[in-house]
Structures are given as C-alpha cells and as structure tokens.
C-alpha cells in the first residue's frame, strides 16, 4: 500500500514538473520578447529593454525555467518586487505576502495586482459551483445509470437512455437560455444572473440554482450513459448469473454483486468531470455572469494577461493531476485485480 502510494506520488511529481515546463514554454519560449508580451503593445521600447535586462529574460531558456520555477515554489524572491523595477516602469509591484513564498504567481500587469489577490477568490466561487454540481451529478448518474443498465432494453432503460442523449446534446448556452426564459423571465422564481452579490435583491443561494442546473443536466447525461454501459456489461456477466442462481433476490444481487463492479469503469470518468467542472465551465459562467474561474480565464486571454494565464493554466493542471491521482487510488481500491502494490 505504502509502496504503491509512494510510487504513484513520485510519478505525480514528475508529471507536475513536465506540465510546469510545458506551461513555461508556451508563454515564455514562444517567439517575441517576453517583456513585450507582459507589458503589452503600448509599453515603451526602453521599458521593455530594461525589463529584459533586469529580469534576465535574455538568459538561456533553462536558466529562465529554473528561475521561474524557483520563484514559483518560493526558493527565491521575485525580482520584480525590487523597488528599482517598479520605479523604472512607473508602477508599484508590492505583494502583501512578500517577495518570496510558495505559490508566487507574480503580478498581473493588466490589473496591477498580484495574481494571487485575484485568482483564489474566483477559484473559490467556481469551486463552490463545481462542488454542488458534482455532489448532485454523481448520485443522479449512479442511480439512473444503474436503473437503466439493470435490464437492458426495458422501457425505463430506453426512457433514461433517450433522456441522457438529449441532455448531453443540448449545448450549455441553449440550456442556460431556456432555463432563464422559464424560471426567470417566465415564472420569475429565480434571478437571471448570478453576480454573487445581494445587490439585486436575490439571496446569494438562489443565484447558484440555475448554473448548477445547467451543469448537472448537461454533465449527468454523459455520465449516466457511462454508468449504464458498464452496468449492462456487469449484469450480463457470469458471476451475476451465479449470484441469481444462488437464490438471491434481485435487489441484493444488484447491490452486493453488481454495484461495485459496475462502478470500476465509470469511476475514472466521474473524476474527470471534476476537471471539466473547474476549468471547462466558461460558457455557463458567461451566461449567468458568474464571477468564476472560467470568466477570469477568458478575460485574461482577451487581455493577453500572460502572468494570469500562466497561473490559471498551472492551477488547472495541478488540479487535474491531483484528481487523476485520487482516481487512480480509488480505482485500485474498487478493483482488487489492480491491487495496491
């Protein structure tokens, strides 16, 4: 068990290193001056040259990567917080956390704030949205997937399958607009937007309802189909026949013998949904004007906020790798044939 975990953990660290290099390379090794990319097209050439000089952007890439990584993990101070730099560029780069700490993502030049001041709040908002959605998607998918897969071809199987396909094929923006038209414009039960402020007269929790609904409907359709597929396969297997012919009742057969085996394959898929819910919900957030991570990413991309994009990409990557790590462990726990060795 311990050996399995440590082995997995080492591979996670290696994956993280590779991923961080890819992120670094995408922003800092693409053609053009790094300083120019960060300062924007209206910066003076002298400022760009100064920054290239001062922050070592002309050094070979491996030196820059080591420095970049060093700043990120807090092994060295961020040179940008040197008052000299701020003076020369006519800005102030002051992070209340100091110049050297773990997870130092640097400064967003576009908003003139440390990236950490902006990104975590947005991430927390999306985290709540994703958490609620995930907590609903999993039981709903398992319940309906199992029900459908228990008897392939029955009327409820067909109903659930068709429902699942419809739910997945409806694009999020269409679904969002429908729901707004029904519940907000039509019935007036829910707010049409979710800025997460009580200013509009709607309590904060009501503002979560529709984004969650969109995500749950859109995503469950897919996961239900995965669970159903796995369940039909399990129910057709010989060991289920063995269980039935032991004289067990059907509900017992399903819960004792079917469930765990049917969960092995969809488990990984469910864990993948978490990644989607964190970094793939741009559309839903835009529809409801939800101040989340996706919206932030979109804004940063439009404004070419390099430092912010780097940070957001890194966080998404770390999150994805960690869920995969958890999902690997869970998979091994569910499936004794893998074994925690």
């Amino acid at each position: 068990m311990l050996k399995y975990l440590s082995k997995k953990f080492i591979s996670v660290i290696a994956t993280l290193l590779v991923a961080s290099f890819v992120v670094f390379a995408l922003t800092e090794m693409t053609p053009g001056s790094v300083a120019r990319k960060k300062l924007g097209q209206f910066a003076l050439q002298s400022q760009v040259d100064f920054m290239d000089e001062q922050l070592g952007y002309n050094d070979p890439f491996y030196q820059r990567y080591v420095r970049w990584l060093g700043i990120l993990v807090g092994a060295m101070p961020d040179p940008i917080q040197d008052p000299k730099v701020g003076e020369a560029l006519g800005r102030s780069f002051v992070d209340k956390r100091g110049a050297q700490y773990f997870g130092n993502f640097g400064f967003s030049f576009q908003s003139n704030q440390p990236v950490n001041d902006i990104i975590w709040k947005k991430l927390a908002n999306t985290g709540i949205l994703a958490g609620i959605s995930f907590a609903l998607i999993v039981p709903i998918s398992i319940f309906f997937g199992m029900l459908a897969g228990m008897r392939e071809g029955s009327w409820y199987d067909r109903t659930i399958s068709v429902g699942g396909i419809v739910a997945t094929s409806l694009p999020e923006f269409a679904l969002g607009v429908f729901l707004v038209a029904i519940f907000s414009t039509g019935l007036g039960w829910l707010p049409g937007g979710s800025p997460l402020s009580a200013g509009g007269g709607w309590p904060i929790w009501t503002q979560f309802v529709m984004p969650v609904m969109v995500l749950v409907i859109y995503d469950s359709g897919y996961v239900i189909r995965m669970v159903r597929g796995s369940m039909t396969e399990v129910m057709a297997s010989n060991y289920i026949r063995t269980a039935i012919l032991k004289g067990m009742t059907m509900p017992r057969v399903v819960t004792r013998h079917g469930l765990r085996n049917a969960m092995i394959a969809p488990f990984t898929v469910m864990m993948l949904q978490l990644n989607f819910l964190i970094s793939g919900v741009v559309v839903t957030e835009m529809i409801f004007n939800f101040p989340g991570f996706g919206q932030l990413l979109l804004k940063a991309s439009l404004e070419k906020d390099v430092q912010m994009i780097e940070a957001a990409t890194l966080i998404s990557l770390v999150f994805a790798i960690m869920t995969q790590f958890i999902s690997d462990i869970g998979y091994a726990l569910l499936n004794p044939r893998i074994g925690l060795r």
Partner: protein, 717 residues
C-alpha cells in the same frame, strides 16, 4: 418406481427475437432419480445449457417455456413464482459453471462469496457461515481454507476456482447438482482431480447430478445414465454401459468415433468426424434434426416426426433406421490418410534454454535478479513429415518453446537448427523471409486469431503477397481458393467476415493461412483444445491429410495425451520447462513410464465405462518457474519419489529402446517392472473395433463394406 427427483415432461423452450421466435427445445422429457448421476452429451448448440437454465427458471428476457412441465420434488418450476424459484435455486438445485474464471465475482473475496450461500438459505450469521465455508473448502480438498477465503478469485488458479465453485454449490446442500462442462478448459490432471471430487462428493452427500459435456470420456467416468441431445431433442438415452457397448443412434455412434482413445495410433484407427455442424435453430429440419448430417437419411422416413423406439426397457433411441446402422454407416470422405516420416532432418533443438530475468533494476547493478526458467536443456529433433508432440500441463513451458521456435522470442542459450541453420537467437526481425516462411504457426483460439473486420481470405492473401508466392491478383485469388478447398471450405467463404464462421471453420482458415507460406515446419499450439470433440476430430483428420501431401513437419503442442497418441510420431513430455520423457508414441505409451507420464495417462478420461484405470493423482499444483526444485523438477509432486536424492540431484537421462529417454532416478528396469495397470490391450470395446473396421473399409472401398459390417455383431458380443 419411486417418484423421480426431477421430472421434465414434454418441455418446449422458445426464444423470441425481432424476426420471430425460434424453438430451442421442441419436446423434451427426462427423469432423474434421487442419487442418480445423469450425463447429457451433445455438441455445442444442442440446447444442453438452455435445458439447465430452463430447470433453474433463468432463461433471460427472451427465452420462455411455452409448454410442458419441470417438476422438482413435486413442485412445478415452469413459471413458478419468484419465491419458489429462490428457494429451489441454490438450496434444492446447485450449479457448477463452465468457466470458473467468470463465474466468481472478481471484486469479492472467496469467503464473502461462499458464506452468502448458507446465510441466505439457513439464515445463519456471518461467523457461523464462515465456519461452514471453511469446512466445505476442506471437503473439496483445498488446503488452508482460511487463507483461500481471504483471497480474490484472480489470486487462485483455474482448478482452485472450480473447486471453490463446487464448494459454493454444495454449501447449500442441494439434492440436485447441475454441472455445465465444468472441466472444459482445465488441464487433464486438474480435470481428473475435479472428476474425482465430483464422485467423492456424490458419495458423501448423496447428491444427484446432471452432468453436461461434449466429451464422452467424462460421461463414462462419472455418470450412470446418459442422454444424447441433438438440436434440443433427446436422440438416445441408456444406461452408461449399454450406451458404450451398443450405441444405436447414428449421431451417438459418430460422436463416439470422434473421441481420441488410448488404444490405437494414427495408423490403426481414424476419427470419423461428423460432416457439417448442427443446423441453426431457425432452420430446424422437419422430422429428425440430425437428418442433414446423417448417412442414413431416407426420404419419407427421416423427414417426418420420428417416434422414440425402445431398444430395451432402459434404452431408447429416436431414430427410424437404428436397426440398419450397419448398412448405411460405411465410409466417409474425411477419413485420415496419415503419412510416414522421411529421413531428412528438418528440426534439431540442442540444449535450448530460455530464462527470463525479472526485477530489471537489480540486474543493472549486478545483483542476482529473480530468474524465471521457462525452458531448460531442451533437446530433440524431427525429420521431414514427422509429427512431434510436445505435451505437459499449463506452465510447463510448451508455449514458450513455440514462441522461440517461431521467432517471437529469442532463446537464452542453445541452438535450433531448421534445415541446418541456427535460428535460436534470431527473433522475427532478424530472420530472412525464407526463414520466417519456413516456420508457420496455428494458434489456440480460432476466435481471436482472425481480424474480425477483415474478410477471412485476407490473412491468406497477405501471406501469399508478403512471401512473394503469387505474382498478381488473379493468381492470388486462385491460390486462396485452392487453399480453401484444401482445408475443405467453400471458396465463397473467403469473402465472409470471420464473425460468420463457426469455430471449426475459423481454425480451418488459420490452418490454410499457415500452409499458404509453404512451411517446412508447422507449429500448432493447442489448435483444437477450444473446440468440440466432433470439430476437433475433423481438424485433426485435416491436419493429417494435408501433412501427408505436403510432407510438413508438425510440432504439435497439446495437453491432451489421448489426442497425441492418435496423432504423433514422437512425443516430448515437458515439465517445468525440462524434458521428463521423450520417445516414439509406441514407446511412450507403453512401459516403462516416467512417473509424470504415468500420472498424465491415468488422468485421461477413457471413453469406456468398463475400463479400470489406476488412480495416480498429483498433489498440489505445478511449482512456480521462479523457484524450480533443485533436484528433479517433478520431485515435489512425484508419487514414486525414492528419497532425498530426488530433491537434491537432477536425475540422469536413462535411455531405453528406440531413442526412448526417461529423466528419472529410478532405473529403467525398475520403471519397466511397475505394472501401472494401463494395459490397453485389455481395454476392449466395440467402439474401438468399429473405428478400426471403418478405417479398413474406407481404405478398401465401399464394396467390402457389407462384409465388414456383418462381422461386427460378433465383435460386439
């Protein structure tokens, strides 16, 4: 007569499909008395499993009993309420399944799965159920039940799993046990042990059995009464001795002549495979179902409803012409004409070793890594046109040897001379085209060897093009058709996808593919072990016939000694990668025997209920090749162990007549003295003579057929 335990009366089972319903079992009646062991025999697709599922009320969503009754201890099980079925399932009727690998839940421990049964049927607590489960595991001869119960199914061997499944069925103390081909896919030694176990358990618990199999040898060992099923009909039913002494239905007779026997080689006996295959359920013929494949088909008789005829009080047969079988059963086109080996050496294996080094990191720093010794000091040679069989249980290194020979892997040491050139250390990428073409292989499972999305002729076309045997498209097509006719397949099948072919047809395609390269050596790795006996017989005859015309050397890898006896010129017995015994078929199947060969022989189910077989059973399982015994490799399981010398010193090769080699500490004279009781001359049965006679008849032509058949009644008496 006492009331029967199970009584099936005029049962009809149908499956519904989108195109209408098909009849799986038209009209079936049988009785099983309390304490009786009943065998049901027939090829795949004859409705045996459907019958079992009908008994247990588990036909699935599409199947239904549309007429008749199934009475078990008085209760009618047809359309019985769920509560009755639940009581009968497990508690009254237990079931042992064909494939123990899939019959157990992979994510529950053995203990959890076992103790469900008593908890369910006796309403007892977990701890008590665990105790019962442990006791039952003891009963089925699984050592250390406590450990076994903590394991998951994938941590047990196939034989162990089948014991668990049997224990699971017996835990409910059923009065009737249904066994659905429980030993198919297991090694002969394991099969013999499982059959012993079934017999012992029967004595111990007085359980009745219905044993389903396509292997008549097993029936002879286990059952008292036998029913032969064809297309859902009971075509013949008799006491086991009567059936084997005088089979009357043409189907039974042909089925019997497909079973390999230990009392003849390829020159003295020949299989008489049944032409064709069972008709699909949709195309069930009018009248007798076997009619399309029967030599005695007579218009006006066989295409009408066939009544059941009583031969004796206990022997019934469903054939209008059963009295005339001697007249119409004369010749067959598919009879084998085996060739004889030449003098030119083709294959010479010298001191071949194959060692896998595990634990790569340790190897790099020079530490002694774990060694998996798959082959050790393997020596033998073969001439052109010779069939050399390599036999042994699973894990004996047979397939590793095949992989090295065909170039899928390189040997660690030693030489393999093919036509005088050493290929031992050359894998496929290092071999020339000619060297690759010279050795071709036929694999075990025909279902997975052909690409399901390519036409079945495609693989052969590739071979022809790749080795430059044909020049253009027209020539290739012609050649493919020729090869198809060589393996007795209609040429139009070459454009069909493998999914539309039966198992036997697929294996024929695989054989045609192998012969397309015009090989000097054909390596056949268990080519028939996944097939029904009747299909197996046809494939073996085919191999023998092609081999005769092409003069190919065949390395035939098998765990079935009876089949080897029937096919090979020379035999090599492998155990844990080392040769235990080698010699000609005649010398190997007569004393002196190596103790391992002796055990293998005694495990073969002989298709003769009167044959008395010595019971030599190997204890435990074949040891791990990671940790081979220091002395004789077989010492840990040997029943003739002489003493510590067996554990410490590798045995010498002792030489007998005719190149016969036995690797054992016991001198050959001593081994000769051991009367194993495997004196096959004593085992006489009319079925043997029949095949012998038929063989003779086939060779001498149909003119003398009548004379031969006339001589038979005397042979039978």
């Amino acid at each position: 007569m006492a009331k029967a335990l199970l009584e099936i009366d005029r049962l009809r089972v149908e499956y519904s499909s989108s195109t209408g319903s098909v009849v799986a079992i038209p009209n079936f009646s049988m009785k099983v008395q309390a304490g009786e062991a009943y065998g049901l025999v027939g090829e795949s697709g004859c409705g045996k499993t459907t019958l079992l599922m009908a008994i247990l009320g588990h036909l699935g969503a599409r199947g239904a009993v549309t007429r008749g009754s199934i009475r078990f201890e008085g209760d009618n099980l047809v359309n019985a309420p769920a509560s009755v079925l639940r009581r009968v399932r497990g508690n009254g009727i237990g079931m042992v399944y064909q494939d123990p690998n899939s019959a157990l839940n992979p994510s529950m421990t053995i203990g959890q799965q076992l103790c469900e049964v008593p908890m369910l049927h006796q309403g007892i607590r977990m701890a008590e159920a665990m105790e019962q489960a442990a006791e039952m595991l003891n009963n089925v001869n699984l050592p250390d039940p406590g450990k076994v119960m903590e394991r998951f199914p994938h941590q047990l061997s196939g034989g162990q799993k089948q014991r668990v499944v049997i224990a699971m069925a017996l835990l409910a103390r059923p009065r009737l046990l249904l066994l659905d081909e429980p030993t198919t896919g297991l090694d002969v030694t394991v099969e013999a042990a499982v059959l012993d176990l079934v017999n012992d358990m029967r004595k111990k618990f007085g359980t009745s059995l219905i044993y389903i199999t396509h292997n008549l040898g097993i029936v002879a060992k286990v059952c008292e009464r036998v029913g032969v099923m064809y297309l859902g009909d009971m075509v013949e039913e008799a006491l086991v001795n009567d059936l084997f002494a005088s089979p009357h239905h043409p189907y039974t007779r042909r089925l019997m002549s497909c079973v390999p026997r230990l009392d003849g080689n390829k020159h003295t006996t020949s299989f008489l495979p049944i032409p064709g295959q069972p008709a699909p359920l949709k195309l069930r013929p009018e009248g007798c179902g076997f009619a399309p494949r029967c030599q005695g088909y007579a218009v006006g008789w066989c295409n009408h409803e066939v009544p059941v005829d009583q031969v004796t009080k206990s022997h019934s047969v469903r054939c209008v012409r059963w009295r005339e079988t001697d007249v119409f059963e004369t010749k067959t086109e598919e009879i084998a004409q085996p060739g004889t080996p030449g003098d030119r050496p083709v294959l010479d294996v010298q001191q071949l070793d194959k060692i896998y080094y595990l634990g790569g990191a340790m190897k790099a720093i020079g530490k002694n890594s774990r060694q998996l010794i798959a082959n050790h000091n393997v020596n033998f040679s073969a001439k052109d046109g010779e069939i050399i069989a390599v036999v042994g249980e699973s894990g004996s290194g047979k397939s590793t040897f095949a992989r090295i020979l065909t170039g899928l892997e390189a040997a660690t040491k030693g030489r393999i001379l093919v036509d005088g050139k050493d290929v031992a250390s050359k894998t496929l990428s290092h071999r020339s085209k000619e060297e690759i073409a010279a050795i071709q292989m036929v694999f075990q499972n025909p279902d997975s060897t052909l690409n399901p999305s390519h036409r079945s002729g495609h693989a052969i076309e590739r071979v022809l093009k790749k080795f430059g045997i044909t020049k253009d498209r027209a020539e290739t097509t012609k050649m493919v058709e020729e090869l198809f006719s060589t393996v007795r397949l209609s040429p139009w099948l070459k454009d069909q996808l493998p999914g539309r072919l039966s198992g036997g047809q697929k294996q024929r395609v695989a054989i045609a593919r192998a012969f397309a390269a015009e090989p000097h050596i054909l390596v056949a790795d268990e080519p028939v072990s996944a097939l029904d006996v009747s299909v197996q017989a046809a494939i073996i005859n085919l191999l023998l016939n092609i081999q005769k015309t092409q003069g190919t050397t065949i390395v035939f890898i098998s765990h079935d000694l009876a089949l080897v006896r029937h096919l090979a010129d020379k035999v090599v017995v492998l155990y844990l990668g080392k040769i235990m015994e080698a010699g000609t078929v005649e010398s190997l199947f007569s004393p002196p025997y190596h103790p391992y060969t002796e055990a293998l022989l005694s495990a073969i189910p002989i298709p003769d209920p009167t044959a008395i077989q010595p019971r030599v059973r190997l204890a435990g399982e074949i040891p791990s090749p990671l940790n081979v015994p220091a002395g004789c490799r077989f010492a840990t399981r040997c029943h003739r162990k002489v003493g510590t010398i067996c554990d410490t010193t590798p045995p010498p090769d002792r030489h007998g007549d005719d190149g016969h080699i036995i690797s054992c500490h016991i001198p050959i004279e001593e081994l000769e003295k051991i009367k194993t009781g495997l004196n096959f001359a004593v085992v006489k049965s009319p079925a043997l003579k029949k095949t012998a006679v038929s063989k003779m008849v086939a060779q001498k032509g149909a003119v003398k057929a009548k004379a031969a058949s006339k001589s038979k009644p005397s042979a039978r008496s």
